[in-house]
Amino acid sequence: MAMILYHGAPNGPSLIVLAALAETGVDVERRPIDLLAGERHVLPGIGEAVALDMGIEGEGPVLVVDGEAMTDAVFLAQYFDELSDKASLQPSDPYAHWEMMMWCRQITERLSPAAALLGNIEFSQETLGAMSDERFEELAGRIVSADLRSRWEILRDGAVDLAQIVDSRTKVLQAVERCEKQLGDGRKWLMGELTIADLATFAWLAGMERVLPESFRDKPLTTAWLQRVRSRPAVASVLADCGADVATFWAPGPEINRWG
């Protein structure tokens, strides 16, 4: 069963999946793409494009298996973990598993849209703004999901709602505070043992150290934990592969909750 992983630079959702891949040792053909050039929307050989087209997580990695486009970084990390007999990145106890999935869900629903919004404004807006109208329309025209396309357009136009920016800063700070509290009993990893929760949280939070350094001030446990994740051989190898400043790579992310 040939598996091809199309992924962006190791930041955000692409980092979650690349780190999980390195930790589990699953054999996958990796094909780097430029997410901010819209390359995710012209992938070859996809017979079943539903997950790819909906883009609920935004511009994340795509795993193609037998023509099926599989997306969502946390679920792909679980997929690799369940295929692998090497690593176990998920607790076997049902309650501990529930805790891990609840944590990941908080990260996915609250931190990731906020971090993506702030990271994109800081590092991607200028690139998109400098694109010719013709080039941008060609790119946007390939995006099947209307709501994902509108997130690209809003970012390019600089029309991001100020209230969303303020709220996003609060959500990043809340995520850091949540980590600091969780690590308060001296544990090494967020769930005790290393799990997907560490990879997912690191992948969205690490890039925020540059954008919102004040959120990390006086948070020694979180800062040390970020460094611990960064130093893991699997994570370090993924970051080194990129050979550039990974925290500057962003592309439109998940939508901010529109209802409740």
Binding site: V50, A51, M54, I56, V65, E68, M70, T71, D72, F75, L76, Q78, Y79, E82, L83, P94, Y95, H97, W98, M101, M102, R105, E109, A146, D147, N257, R258, W259, G260
Partner: protein, 255 residues
């Protein structure tokens, strides 16, 4: 075995997901009905269980669990009984993908329309001062915004239009997916079907022009197959409002 108590509203949407999962697994549980329309979920006795004031919540011995889809996965893993997750890793991915798609993208659109036509008009008849006090007791700020919109009927035209776009698109996606296999995410009945049925059981009634035997035969086949299950009959019998009685539309031979 430790006692299981489920705090839930109607067998519908988020409350119905763990209710039906427990029933399919054959797990005995104490049912604790929380009347959402009376704001029971924001009263101190419930906030002592779940400080966020969201329903459902489940206790299993001393453990407290929240978030309906995560509770479903816990119930499947923690108890014996029929396996509700497929064995194959890619099928398991598909179950998770569809549950997230429904929870985060599709259900909020159904919910916005449902609240604007069902919950809002019922609640709006109460004393405004009492309502405002009830809203102020809601712990999560985003839920306060949602309740205010529902109670005062202040959804914008653009918001409702976007929800309607997603509902129509979602119905098409479900129809296509159910044309590929017997159940939503794999060849065996499981959590994705339980989640999906809670979202979709009344679509033939609420969206008759988009969902009927002619336009969406696979969706109707699947809804009827889920509805035929004894656990579903038992679960929906716990409903108290006219809203959940809409499930009877599936008794019709031709919709």
């Amino acid at each position: 075995m430790a006692q299981v108590t489920l705090y839930h509203w109607e067998p519908n949407a988020n409350s119905g997901k763990p209710m039906l999962t427990l029933m399919e697994k054959g797990v005995e549980f104490e049912s604790h009905y929380i009347d959402m329309l009376q704001f029971d979920q924001h009263r101190p006795e419930y906030l002592a269980i779940n400080p966020q004031g969201t329903i459902p919540a489940m206790t299993h011995g001393s453990r407290v669990l929240v978030e309906s889809t995560a509770i479903m996965e816990y119930v499947n893993e923690a108890f014996s009984g029929p396996e509700l997750m497929p064995k194959d890793a890619r099928d398991r991915w598909r179950v998770r993908w569809w549950m997230k798609f429904m929870d985060q993208w599709l259900a909020p659109s159904f919910s916005m329309i449902g609240w604007s036509v069902f919950v809002g008009p019922i609640v709006r008849q109460r004393d405004p001062a009492e309502l405002e006090a009830a809203i102020e007791r809601i712990p999560l700020p985003e839920r306060r915004v949602s309740w205010r919109k529902a109670i005062h009927g202040t959804f914008s035209e653009a918001e409702i239009a976007e929800s309607q776009r997603r509902v129509a698109l979602g119905i098409n996606m479900l129809e296509q997916e159910l044309g590929k296999r017997e159940w939503l995410a794999s060849d065996t009945y499981g959590l994705a079907d339980i989640n999906g049925f809670n979202l979709a059981y009344a679509i033939p009634l609420s969206q008759p022009s988009l969902c009927n035997d002619e336009k969406t035969p696979n969706l109707l086949r699947w809804l009827r197959a889920v509805y035929a299950r004894p656990a579903v009959k038992k679960c929906w019998a716990l409903g108290r409002t006219d809203m959940v009685k809409r499930v009877a539309v599936l008794d019709g031979e031709q919709i």
